[in-house]
């Protein structure tokens, strides 16, 4: 267990480092841009306002809030302190709701939608890829081109197609939202059923999109492993084929887990856009509302939360990898 603890601490350290950098980027990027963000914000807020004194006052208020007149380092400390207290500021477009409150409402929709969908897509993709490598022939010939097609099809495109086919043409499933318009969130079966129905289209569009890339990756890995020397050697020693296949797929699976950790950032990005097509009440939708409303604090809050979400997901996958790859525990101890 000593080896794993070392591995865990290493990954935790890395998580901390990436956290700090995520904060810094989120803080610095908007401030690097030419122009005075506060002036832009003030202009948005005061549109139609005639009193010059009022405009100046609002400008002063925002300068105070963002601390733009202080040195950059002080601003950063202010930013970190605010965020640490869960204070992301007040939303412009949904004034006077605090940003933290808006994100708090949306984040669970996104987490419950995306992570199960990405995991299921990953699983199905790996099984299909492994089968393609093992069965070869016709199955492979059909699966490979369709996987290439799927993996490069934009997530929003899949969302639109599912929406048109199952929502509009066949009328099987609701088009948009997280639950029916006529529902008030409560714990009744009716509400849960409505949530379940609304969950289907966004869920499957993310699943289908994730399958392609994973299937291609798993196929290559499995072919590589099937040709590995240990496979030939094991066969020569008379080990049963089923056992050898089990070796191969376990070994091919391991890089796929790492692959998931590396690509989860990209996948979440695509899935957020898919959410928008269905007006799913998650972070994707919050983001587009923030962008159309030029709601600076909300955008900043959402991007930070999404980054943190991805970092944590990445960290968790790495932890699981440490558990399932026996070499980690063995080699870290030295």
């Amino acid at each position: 267990m000593k080896g794993y603890r070392q591995y865990f601490l290493k990954k935790l350290g890395w998580l901390m480092v990436t956290f700090v950098f995520a904060f810094m980027l989120n803080f610095i990027l908007p401030r690097l841009m030419p122009g005075d963000p506060v002036a832009v914000i003030t202009q948005k807020v005061t549109q139609g306002m005639t009193s010059q004194a009022g405009v100046t006052k609002i400008y002063e208020e925002y300068s105070e809030l963002f601390g733009t007149k202080k040195p950059l380092l002080d601003q950063f400390v202010l930013y970190i302190t605010n965020v640490a207290q869960g204070n992301f500021g007040i939303s412009f477009s949904q004034y006077p709701r605090p940003v933290a409150d808006i994100i708090g409402d949306a984040i669970w929709w996104t987490i419950w939608l995306q992570f199960p969908a990405i995991l299921i897509g990953w699983l199905i993709g790996n099984i299909l890829g492994a089968l393609a490598a093992y069965l070869k022939g016709g199955f492979d010939k059909v699966l490979m081109p369709s996987s290439i097609f799927l993996s490069n099809f934009p997530a929003f495109g899949m969302a639109v197609i599912l929406l048109v086919v199952f929502g509009i043409t066949l009328k099987w499933l609701p088009l948009s939202g997280g639950y029916g318009f006529d529902q008030i969130p409560n714990m009744s079966w009716e509400f849960v059923w409505s949530v379940f129905l609304h969950y289907q289209l966004p869920f499957w569009s993310i699943v289908i999109i994730s399958i392609g890339g994973q299937a291609i990756g798993m196929r290559s890995m499995a072919i590589y492993e099937l040709n590995a020397d240990y496979v030939k050697y094991s066969r020569f020693l008379g080990i049963k084929d089923q056992k050898i296949i089990a070796y191969v797929f376990r070994n091919a699976m391991l890089p796929q887990v790492t692959g998931l950790a590396l690509s989860i950032a990209t996948m979440v990005g695509g899935a957020l856009v898919a959410e928008i097509i269905f007006s799913y009440p998650g972070l994707g939708n919050t983001m587009i509302k923030a962008i159309t409303g030029q709601d600076y604090p909300l955008i900043s809050g959402v991007t930070l939360i999404v980054t943190l979400m991805v970092l944590v997901a990445n960290f968790l996958i790495e932890l699981i990898y440490g558990l399932i790859d026996p070499r980690i525990k063995a080699t870290q101890a030295d």
Partner: protein, 279 residues
């Protein structure tokens, strides 16, 4: 056996081990009663011969269970520990993953696993080629140990290194382009080669002796034929200095000249020995 290892496939010939013809046997019987037990194998690249995510002992358990499903894990561990000790390998290796072992140690572990069922024949495919000289020596010593201690009855040693071969084996068969071109005792094959290719092969060895500085190594001109479309006549004809039109006309058979001694050439034994002086 070809049917057991695609893309290899059976075309002709028989495999007889200890008087038992195994060609045409049911593949699962081959797996269970022949592989590992009658014939075993040491692969060329031991670096990747072991499943990287399985401890050595677990891999040995898999091998044993493929042949003796009833054997308990405890017995296997005891047996493996004893066998490793006898072969001079620390039993702690059993609990390790391949990545934790050094190259030489890995090769010796692979050898120990290959002979765990005391096979009749051990096929060693360049078992020392990727190793440094010290590890090479240990591997060769181990292989001889196996014979001496009776873990294996015989060994087929495949290599390019003739001096090594001469030290390890009783008989040598020289192969060219997929065919045996000469067969004989180690001494005969090395010192009185009959086939032009074997002659060339033996001629390419540097012998540390007087006048070495001035001596020139003789190389065989040309390149081996394309084995996808082997030539219809003698496969060595294109590179042979004694080539005659007849050589290219039809394939040449392996000719036995005495017990255990044979070669594949139309020239007579006498002609060959005379030609030696030129070689």
């Amino acid at each position: 056996m070809g049917y057991y290892f695609p893309p290899l496939h059976y075309t002709s010939g028989e495999i007889i081990i200890d008087g038992r013809n195994i060609s045409g046997m049911d593949p699962d019987d081959v797996r269970k009663s022949i592989l590992g037990r009658e014939i075993s194998y040491i692969p060329q690249a031991a670096m990747n011969a072991l499943n990287p995510t399985r401890r050595i002992i677990h891999f040995i358990e898999d091998v044993m269970h493929a042949h003796e499903p009833s054997m308990s894990k405890k017995d296997i561990l005891a047996m493996a520990t004893e066998r490793f000790q006898v072969l001079g390998l620390p039993p702690s290796v059993l609990q390790k993953y391949p990545v934790e072992l050094s190259g030489g140690m890995k090769q010796r572990t692979v050898i120990a696993i290959s002979v765990i069922l005391s096979p009749k024949v051990l096929v060693a495919d360049e078992p020392s080629s990727a190793l440094d000289v010290t590890s090479q020596k240990m591997v060769i010593k181990m292989l001889r140990d196996l014979m001496d201690k009776g873990f294996i009855k015989s060994m087929i040693f495949i290599t390019h290194e003739l001096p090594l071969l001469y030290n390890v084996t009783d008989d040598i068969a020289v192969m060219y382009a997929g065919q045996i071109v000469e067969q004989g005792s180690a001494k005969e094959a090395v010192f009185t080669p009959l086939h032009p290719y074997s002659k060339g092969l033996m001629g390419s060895i540097i012998v540390p002796e007087e006048g070495l500085r001035e001596a020139k190594l003789t190389a065989i001109p040309g390149v081996p034929p394309n084995l996808k479309k082997p030539p219809s006549g003698c496969r060595f004809a294109e590179r042979c200095q004694y080539v005659t039109p007849e050589c290219r006309a039809h394939s040449i058979d392996l000719r036995a000249i005495s017990e255990g001694r044979a070669y594949r050439c139309i020239l007579s034994e006498k002609q060959m020995q005379e030609a030696k002086s030129h070689g």
